[in-house]
Amino acid sequence: MSAQLQATLCACVFIILCTTAGAVGTPVGTVIQNTATVTFDLAGTPVTLQSNVATITVVERIDVIVTRQSPQILVAPGDTGRAILFTVSNTGNGSEAFALAIDSLIGGDDFDPVPAVPAIYFDTDASGDFNIGDVAYNPGVNDPVLAADASQNFFIVNDIPALVVNSQIGFSQLTATALTGSGAPGTEYPGQGDGGVDAVIGTTGGEDADIGEYLVSDVVLNVVKSQLVSDPFGGTQPVPGATITYTVTVEVTSSGTATASVFSDLIPTYTSFVPASIALNALALTDAIDADAGEYDTAGAPRVVVRLGDLTQADGVQTVVFQVTID
């Protein structure tokens, strides 16, 4: 009879649809013509005439912006495959391909995360969560091509060294570089824009990077499970038909946050769950898998599941109670 408690330190990810409307410039190839009109009187007779047509053609401006979407990611020492979400946005006015790169050796932090292999993934299913369907980025093979003003989400994935300690921070950076070229704003790439027009580097230099953060938060949880037996005869003997009331207390006893903590406890063999017996902090929870915080889950081995949410020391003791009967 062992209480299982999974304090899942999970990356809460915001999905931000980055279509910065209006940020995009006038499309490549647009021709802008200007004609001035002059009117005047000549010996009392009004005359109107037009100037020549002054023409300018819009060429490609290459710009890119990388934006971190994930908040600070809470990690434990030795964690593997921890992802940070970024958005790469083509803020130029033409279609452009970009090369991506990860750098986890940047300064200013307490430790260096270790890039996984591969270390960069497309958010293929646009879920904002790093999962099995996400396709790895392979430089020169599947460089993302973004239309003007389009954006695409990517993950950079790192392992956390085993020898880090609580409250240490590690940085990891994603860089996107326009394949046509990058450099000082105003640098020209003749004939390399969309449709063979010139391309010009914009204010971003055709390259941008943003930094994600890992915070070591190895939360210490104090979990205590106790039981009270009540037999059909008014005693406390564990005989068939007796009811066992389990009380499990969970408490964070360190700094840090146990994010999205889930309590999960298997129903012991030779016992049966007592319907409608789950309570969290003296508040009854239904057995059904529904909107409340807990359920009796029979999908696999029967178990009681209660979601405790984000726990810190300030939340104090959380008490889960449920009952079984001895078969």
Binding site: G25, N34, V38, D41, V47, S51, V200
Partner: protein, 160 residues
Amino acid sequence: MKYLMSATLTLLLLSLPVAAQEQGSLNVMTTVQKEEVFVNDAGESETRLVPANTVVPGEAVIYTITFQNVGDEPAGNVVITNPIAETLSYVDGSAFGPGMQLQFSVDGGQNFAAANALTVEEDGTARPAGPADFTHIRWVMQNELAVNAMATARFTAVLK
């Protein structure tokens, strides 16, 4: 001699539609330029105007309208009107023309007034017009344009 002169005139007339148009008695030409920073012989950065054949979003272009009275009578009530293309946004305060009064339109060139006299309807209420609302610029010459006299009107806009 006479034959030669006539040949020169024909040549001139042929080349005119490209560079400018000469009708009536005013010669009007529009040029569009942009600023370019270059390093001079002394190694200093300087700015110069170069033809703006190509531009990128965010870049400023300068339109210059030059007109000259090539007739033999003074021209009165000279008014230059220039539209601001939808893809351009007028740079506030950039329009100027010596000896000319500036007017703007916010309704596609139907009505013109001084910039601070224009309003725009927005959500049922009128607000003062801003440079983004201007659709046309108009330069109104205060005096007659004498024979052979030349004048210049100019404004700057940024490609959206």
